[in-house]
């Protein structure tokens, strides 16, 4: 018997062990431990034949823990530390558990123990025999026994705090211990990139994966509502809280000034621009991967410049049918209402605005101001807002064999809005089938059907620049007090007789909201099919075809109790009327790709892809309107009885043909190279400009595989990425390069008492129109520390967009107001950081955090025709129609708020008192844009920038930055025993919001009588109250934007909190329930902000040029729900 001693000097060694071994012999591992610790091992060499290969990654752990971890994987061996220099290796005294035939049932009993990577036993792990209903649970020592039909049976280990693990019974029997890892080890995650998947560790571009477990905790309609703050560099702006309203998602800043900046979506491999995200049930989404830099998006070429969001839905897995039932129900409530003037303050204001009119309305029958002392009047907000229910039910069944897999699901979602008569409903179903045919062919289909209905007043809707038509205008403006002694009179009539209907379109908000019939029903079918054929084991041909058809029907019926159907109303069209519009958008895709994958030598791997795709988009829309509908009680069905009016019919089509190729090469997983090329041909551009080419390249270097990094033991993994590429944006209308001659009804003329239609040129041709291109440089680093307990990703990017597509404003002296042009250049650059940590991980308690922050800065680099700036007005109020509020100026961000600098009000000292007692503005004091003689003390005052003492366009300047300096999110997942808690915070910092509501309700810019105001206007300038910064009634000056209503829109929001309880398996097993979680979730719990409006997260006229505008926004609701998740 030969005894081999391995003895080495023990001096000068550290106390900790770091190991990274895969499939290494025990001997090799021990040699490594010896080198690091100085300990020697003593054993009989034949014992090594009983050793098992070791897979282990350890960073700076104590020797004892390292040994424990190593020998956990040695079923036959154990060890003993003999002294400070020597460790002995011995055979275990007991034999490992073997599968033992059960005489009665013909099954085999398997025993085992579940432990974590430090050897602590884990209690409550569910062990299920895949494809059967047999399962077991581990006890408090981690031990379990389960019966399996055969040694080849698979066992699935699941526990809320650990990553899932699957083993065959045979392996388990040989190993006895099952080691479950923390879920944070994400390096092995598969990331979905265009036309393929790669391991996170091999990604060369900037790609973010959204944690769907977290997103699913939020009780929301659509994934986009929960996406804000989840991934660095992804900015989600929802205009307001209207149920069913789509959010704008901008990745790494807006490239394009007037064109759509939303990313390309790839849903189950199907690229589509602007899909209806309401058609997807968030519960069915398996993963969301966001491609951010050009190297990642270049494979989508002409449509990649705005980033790509890849959504993969859930699919069936081989095994027994798994039934999932989820349901929740709860309520939503309005968080914040604007405080309005009390009845008394309202009357007082009227007397100041126009005493004569006030006398007529309020001081008849001997009433005086004091008569209204305690009157509050009608609280219209109270009648408009409600606590509204929301519920969601989801069921799915999935399973299959190794050859056939299926996933079937259905869901019902029903949300009433917090404004009366608004809401959203969705019915949805999905069927996914995958089938292996023979050895070489795989096919499958994925079909989703959704019927979604939005209904009710669109609160932020605007028509013809008429601010008084927006619903919240009527709510805030409507008189709380009628003056007749019976305020309810106001509540019973659609119109208030005291209102000048010629210019003020307010209507009773409650009657209006109750009667508005505005319904949008969208039926979406998404059907994809694929066939994948392995021509050789390394060469695969994949052919996919898909259809995304969105059929939407918009129904509007204006009955006589709405401002659009009342014959007395300015917009009433003489009586009840309605419109139905049907729109069908078809996207058809065929994609054909060849993938070749090979390895040579030990070190080289290559993955090459080539493909050809065709995408056709067809739009057709038709509809009709009728006026003077005689039987309004029939509603939209009665339209046929009315007087036929406009008939609509439009069709259009665009085609995109593309060739694509990509090579991924990796040398020892240390150096990785990606090169991509795509050629896109689009029918949207003129001949000669149809084709464009989009190359990109990226390089990644895994530093942690270099010898010099071996000694930096805190770092588990480190990878440096660098890439550059060019991508495009083709978001122009289908025939933007052509002049359009059209025949709109409205452009007619009545010759000789009969109407004749005109042919008018509605747009100008521009055959030079070409793609907007974005060149993007990205450098990033992925770091992982402490055995993957900490993951850190940092990216810097620099995007230059040139040949900017702009639907440019034209001076009308050219005859047209707008034309498509390629103009100028814009740059976006920024940093993104994300940090994921496991703060605590113990037997009963775990705490994981995810933090991300993004900084983006945009800059206009060049505008054509030597333009210094582009000024943009916002459509909301007629008197402000031609006053620009936004400026895109060379060297500045793409949008800045623009206007006068507000300086409070004129005081008496700015005037000289005239002999007749009136006040005349001193010559050296600047005007506010009114004529000098018309200005009075208490009028609004602006800063005279050019010193000419006249307020005009030359005194307008940047008055706010609508874009945030940084945005981000912070997620915490805490588990304690069977409880789990998810807290998600989201913020935006440094952005200004233009609170246009205050123009009308904190000073009444149009000088309208009998219009209520925000409570803040109770404090206003008067001779007795000269220190107030609010101007006196009628002191608003000429229509102008100023810094007065620019507010800091920074906020920190507790966005989602979810508390769940997983019922102990022992308890629910009898009910044949596999897992059961009960939970309470809340959304929009608390917001810290200095913003005075209802919500700082607002942008009711959202576009790259006009962000952060707040007018009549649907308030965002606080939602709280309770729910149950079950799997059977």
């Amino acid at each position: 018997m030969l005894t081999l001693f391995l003895m080495l000097s023990a001096t000068g060694y550290g106390q900790t062990i770091t190991l990274s071994e895969k499939n290494s012999s025990l001997l090799k591992v021990l040699q490594s431990v010896k080198k690091q610790s100085g300990y020697s091992f003593i054993y009989q060499d034949q014992l090594m034949q009983k050793s098992k290969p070791v897979d282990i990654v350890l960073k700076k752990v104590k020797l004892e823990d390292a040994l424990k971890a190593i020998f956990l994987q040695q079923p036959a061996l154990t060890y003993e530390i003999i002294n400070s220099k020597l460790i002995s290796i011995k055979e275990k005294r007991y034999a490992p558990q073997r599968p033992s035939a059960d005489a009665d049932t013909g099954t085999i009993s398997v025993r085992g123990k579940v432990i974590d990577s430090l050897g602590n036993p884990i209690e409550g792990v569910s062990i299920q025999v895949t494809g059967t209903s047999t399962y077991a649970l581990s006890d408090n020592a981690g031990n379990f026994i389960i019966k399996v039909p055969a040694p080849s049976a698979k066992l699935l280990f699941t526990h809320v705090s650990y990553a899932k693990k699957e083993l065959t019974a045979r392996v388990l029997a040989a190993n006895a211990n099952v080691v479950m890892q923390f879920p944070q080890t994400t390096l092995e995650d598969m990331i979905v990139i265009g036309y393929g998947q790669v391991k996170r560790s091999d990604v060369t571009g900037s790609v973010a994966k959204v944690d769907m477990d977290d997103v699913e905790k939020a009780p929301v309609r659509s994934f986009e509502e929960a996406l804000a703050g989840r991934a660095a560099g992804v900015q989600v702006t929802s205009p307001d809280g209207q149920p069913g309203a789509a959010s704008d998602i901008i990745i790494r800043g807006a490239n394009s000034l007037t064109q759509d900046n939303s990313p390309l979506y790839v849903i189950d491999g199907f690229p589509i621009e602007n899909p209806d995200n309401n058609a997807l049930n968030p519960a069915e989404i398996e993963s969301i991967d966001i491609l951010k830099d050009a190297s990642a998006t270049a494979i989508y070429g002409a449509r990649g410049a705005n980033g790509v969001i890849i959504i993969t839905t859930k699919k069936g897995k081989a095994g027994k049918a798994v039934v999932t039932l989820n349901g929740y129900a709860g309520v939503q409530a309005n968080i914040k209402r604007m405080k309005l003037l009390s009845g008394y303050e309202f009357i007082k204001l009227q007397t100041e605005l126009n005493p004569a009119v006030a006398n007529k309305f309020y001081f008849t029958d001997g009433k005086t101001l004091d008569s209204y002392k305690d009157q509050q009047g009608i609280d219209w907000q109270d009648r408009l807002f409600r606590t509204a229910p929301m519920q969601n039910y989801f069921a799915s069944i999935s399973g299959g064999t190794t050859k056939s897999k299926y996933f079937l699901s259905g869901s019902i979602f029903n949300q009433d809005g917090i404004v009366i008569n608004t809401g959203f409903k969705r019915y949805q179903g999905r069927a996914v089938l995958d089938q292996q045919v023979g050895d070489k062919l795989k096919t499958g289909v994925n079909i989703n059907f959704t019927n979604a209905t939005k209904f009710g007043t669109v609160v932020s809707d605007y028509r013809n620049d008429l601010s008084s038509l927006s619903l919240l205008y009527s709510v805030w403006a409507y008189r709380p007090i009628s003056g007749t002694g019976n305020d309810e009179e106001l509540a019973n009539e659609l119109y208030d007789d005291a209102i000048d209907m010629a210019s003020d379109y307010r209507s009773n908000p409650i009657i209006t909201a109750q009667n508005i019939y505005n319904k949008n029903i969208t039926a979406t079918i998404i059907a994809n099919a694929y066939g994948e054929y392995a021509i050789t084991p390394r060469l695969k041909l994949r052919i996919t075809g898909g259809l995304n058809r969105a059929n939407s029907r918009s129904e509007i019926f204006n009955n006589s109790n709405t401002p659009y159907g009342n014959p007395r109303s300015t917009l009433g069209k003489g009586g009840p009327n309605g419109t139905i519009i049907n729109t069908q958008i078809d996207n058809l895709v065929n994609e054909n790709t060849l993938t070749y994958q090979t390895k040579w030598g030990q070190s080289h791997t290559l993955n090459a892809l080539a493909g050809y795709t065709i995408q056709v988009r067809k739009v057709n829309s038709s509809g009709a309107s009728a006026l003077l509908v005689p039987n309004e009680s029939l509603g939209i069905s009665g339209l046929d009885e009315g007087v036929p009016s406009t008939i609509r019919s439009t069709t259009s089509e665009s085609v995109l043909l593309s060739y694509l190729a990509r090579v991924n090469y990796s040398f020892k997983s240390k150096y990785m190279l990606t090169a991509t090329f795509r050629a896109d041909g689009s029918s949207r551009f003129a001949p000669g400009n149809k084709w464009s080419y989009f190359p990109s390249g990226a390089f990644a270097w895994r530093l942690s595989n270099e010898p010099f990094m071996k000694n930096i033991t805190v770092i588990t993994d480190a990878k440096l990425r660098i890439g550059y590429g060019i991508t495009g944006n083709n978001r122009v209308t289908d025939f933007a390069y052509l002049s359009v001659l059209s025949f709109p009804n409205i452009n007619s003329y009545a010759f000789n008492n009969s109407l004749e239609k005109a042919a008018i040129k509605s747009s100008l041709d521009n055959y030079n129109l070409k793609w907007e291109n974005t060149g993007q440089f990205d450098v990033g680093i992925d770091l992982s520390f402490f055995n993957n307990r900490v993951g850190f990703v940092a990216d810097f990017y620099h995007k230059n967009t040139y040949d900017l597509l702009l639907n440019a404003d034209m001076p009308v002296t050219t005859g047209l107001t707008k034309a498509f042009k390629n103009i100028g250049r814009v740059r976006n650059s920024g940093f993104e950081f994300s940090l994921n940590t496991i703060n605590v991980q113990s037997k009963n308690f775990s705490w994981r955090s995810g933090f991300n922050i993004s900084f983006n800065a945009s800059k206009v680099l060049e505008l054509t025709q030597n333009q210094e700036s582009i000024l943009t007005a916002v459509t909301w109020e007629n008197n402000f129609k031609n006053i620009p509020l936004y400026m895109a100026k060379l060297g500045q961000p793409v949008a800045l708020l623009y206007g006068y600098v507000w300086e409070g009000v004129y005081q008496y000292e700015d005037f000289i008192q005239q002999p007749n007692g009136t006040y005349l503005l001193k010559d050296e004091v600047a005007t506010n844009g009114n004529t000098r003689t018309a200005i009075k003390p208490g009028d609004i005052k602006y800063r005279d920038l050019n010193g000419d003492r006249i307020m005009d366009i030359n005194d307008q300047t940047a008055i706010g930055r609508p874009f945030p300096i940084h945005t981000g999110g912070f997620t915490n997942n805490i588990t304690w025993k069977n409880f789990d808690l998810n807290i998600f915070l989201q913020w935006s910092y440094g952005n200004d919001v233009f609170n246009a509501n205050r123009l009308l309700f904190e000073g009444n810019i149009n000088g309208r009588l009998n219009q209520n105001q925000f409570a803040s206007y109770a404090d206003r300038w008067s001779p007795e109250n000269p220190n107030s910064k609010n101007f006196r009634p009628n002191g608003q000056g000429p229509a102008a934007y100023s810094s007065r209503v620019v507010e800091d829109g920074s906020y920190l929001r507790v966005k989602t909190v979810s508390i769940g309880y997983n019922l102990p398996a022992t308890l629910i097993k009898k009910a044949r329930i596999h897992t059961m979680r009960c939970y309470i979730s809340a959304q929009n719990l608390y917001t810290i902000t200095g913003y005075s409006g209802t919500d700082p997260e607002v942008s009711t006229r959202n576009s790259a040029l006009t962000p952060a505008f707040d007018y009549s926004a649907y308030p965002r609701a606080f939602t709280i729900i309770g729910g149950i998740n079950l799997t059977l």
Binding site: K573, G574, V740, S748, A750, I760
Partner: protein, 514 residues
Amino acid sequence: MKKIFSLLIAIVFLFSNCHKMLDTVPTDFLSPVNYYKTADHIKKALTGVYDPLGTVDMYGFRLCGQLAYSNDEGIRSAASELTGPAVYNHSISDPYINNLWTACYTGIDRANDLLANIHHADMDETLRAQYRGEALFLRAYYYYLLALHWGDVPLKLTPTIDVQSVDLERSPLRKVYEQIIADMTEAKDEVATISSLGFNGRISKTAVMGMLARVSLSMAGYPVRETSKYAAARDWADSVILSGEHALNPDYKQIFINHAQDIYDIKENLWEIEFFGNGLDAYNETSWIGVWFGIASNDLENPGYCYGALYATNKLFNLYEETDQRRDWNISTYKYSGTNKVPYNPTDLYNRFPGKWRREYELITPKQKNGGPINFPILRYSDILLMRAEAENEMNGPADAVAYLNQVRERAGATLFTEANNNAITNQQQFREVIRDERARELCFESLRNHDLKRWGIFVSTMKNLANTISLTYPTNLRYLALSGNNVSERHLLFPIPSREMALNKAMTQNPGW
């Protein structure tokens, strides 16, 4: 392998065919390249040139609404209207002013397109000449509106073909007028006569001549003061008078009743902007004539809703003699209470409504609140006579001018200026004053007053006098009507160049005072 090879061949073949897929053609609109081929194409394009005239931005509303008042004929009635052009408190971004500017240049661009393409069409030469003449005239008329409201403006006579070169300089007003006169003179020979047309919604020979008289008078007055144009004005007016196409309608009020009832009076009216229907069709070619200003009414059907946005001035009332039939037509003698007419107290002279166009005469039902079929006259025969008289007086004094003036007065039942009446005018200046008043008496509320006052060089002083009179003589509760006169200053002789144009056209300069 063979299979793969043939598959690849098939794919390559497929690709080469597929590239043709990119050559999509629009299915929903036509391109101008394929247009202007037939007489019907040209006719439709010409309709596009007329179209801006009937929009709310022009004669559909604003050009006979807030952009034409307040003045010494009518004053904005609402005490609450403190801003905007109707009270001369508007900014350079005023939407109505911007929209008028836009409407003018839209019409000009459409005319330019038509004029550049009309020779392509396969059509009858007479009709081609007629359509060409109409387009040429309308372009000139849009320039005339621009000249009246803004003075120097960019003169663009060819279609826009390039989206890049957008900076257009202003041409001097004199040059603009010369172009207008040249184009109208050319158009005169091409368009049809009004008797052959049978209606006055299209441009006729006499309409062009009459408009040439008006343009000449404008050019002769402030600010160009090209006094040699008085002769041209007289000659053009003469050519209308001598054409034999026109005559005065014996009944003054019937002219305006006809407007409401879609009846053409091609003798009296040389050119009308046509409106039609009640807006409850897809076209909505209705106007706010009689709706915005008129006799205020709350009743939707009888007489039809009217905002009563103007009060006729006491000055206008006092200009008429008791016998002048025009007074009680142009200034209402009653107001409405529901559908009932309530006569004014004889002392209520300060807030009467203009009654020129009255919705009660509309025939189309149901009436719509915000729009009706009432046509708007641009050029009436009485105006031709008054222009003839004015030009004559400026050239040679009143002797031969009085007869034309008297024709107009005779119809109205007003005292004639004759020696027989002991009412003769012998002094040129005296006649000047009379003609100024007569134009108000005859043509009030036809959107001519502001430009008349401006070309006579008395706009600011007239408005200041008006404000003064109101402040001193009106009942206290109506003295707020002095607001517009108080606000007027020299800068209101021209509209500001709209802020949008200033921002986009780098060659543009602003008008004085703005």
